[in-house]
């Protein structure tokens, strides 16, 4: 069965650079979520999209922005990168129309900021 795809899997950037992370949800899933997991930390919710509209927002820095496109893939754009942005970034998708949506995660993108 198709899973959530994230690219790239690994990314190395310098401070103050920009990074773009991509997420391709499971086909027919209507909701995409982004999470950030720092070293030894639990995943922290950043932002979610339902049917291409932003649906919820967590502790996402103003330097980050995200969107969901017409084909339902989503991109997380991160500007003015800081050392503290080094983390594992997960994308997840679900079919929110279900009464109890099950959330499926991608393998994550490991971002290292030098």
């Amino acid at each position: 069965a198709a899973g959530v795809i994230q690219s790239p899997r690994h990314l190395i950037k310098e401070k103050r650079e920009t990074a773009t992370l991509k997420c391709y949800p499971i086909p027919r899933h209507d909701t995409v979520y982004w999470y950030q997991q720092g070293p030894g930390q639990d995943p922290q919710f950043l932002i979610s999209f339902y049917e291409k509209m932003q649906s919820d927002k967590g502790s996402i820095p103003d330097r980050f922005s995200a969107q969901q496109f017409s084909d339902y893939h989503s991109e997380l754009n991160m500007s003015s990168l800081e050392l503290g942005d080094s983390a594992l970034y997960f994308c997840a998708s679900s079919l929110i129309g279900l009464a109890e949506p099950e959330q499926f995660f991608g393998p994550g993108t490991r971002l290292t900021v030098l």
Binding site: T31, Y33, Y35, D42, P43, Q44, F45, S48, Y50, S55, D56, G58, L88, F90, A92, I96, A99, E100, P101, E102, Q103, F104, F105, G106, P107, G108, R110
Partner: protein
């Protein structure tokens, strides 16, 4: 602050023993999910329990949910070295996000 808090934060057991991890949360939920994460890797969905369910089984996994106490437990029976991982609970409250607990690091010694 996180909705879910897990205890213990670290657990070390011998192969063949059972491992029990607990998760507490603060608000009403629609469902609660347990995930496994191997070191630095992705999150693997283990089991979902709905708010109107009290217990659920999947293979060697048993999950209970007590909505009156706002807590859940994950029991892994007859643990194996391959079960060594971090285990997280995540709650869904009807908003468009899941809230994760701090995780329990399980180490199964061969």
């Amino acid at each position: 602050s996180q909705q879910g808090e897990e205890d213990p934060q670290a657990l070390s057991i011998q192969e063949g023993e059972n491992a029990t991890m607990n998760c507490s949360y603060k608000t009403s939920i629609n469902n609660l999910q347990w995930y496994r994460q191997n070191s630095g890797r992705g999150l693997v969905h283990l089991i979902l329990i709905r708010s109107n369910e009290r217990e659920k089984h999947s293979g060697r996994l048993r999950v209970t949910l007590d909505t009156s106490k706002k807590s859940s437990s994950l029991l892994i029976t007859a643990s194996r070295a391959a079960d060594t991982a971090s285990y997280f609970c995540a709650t869904f409250s009807g908003t468009y996000k899941y809230i994760f607990g701090t995780g329990t690091r399980l180490k199964v010694l061969a």
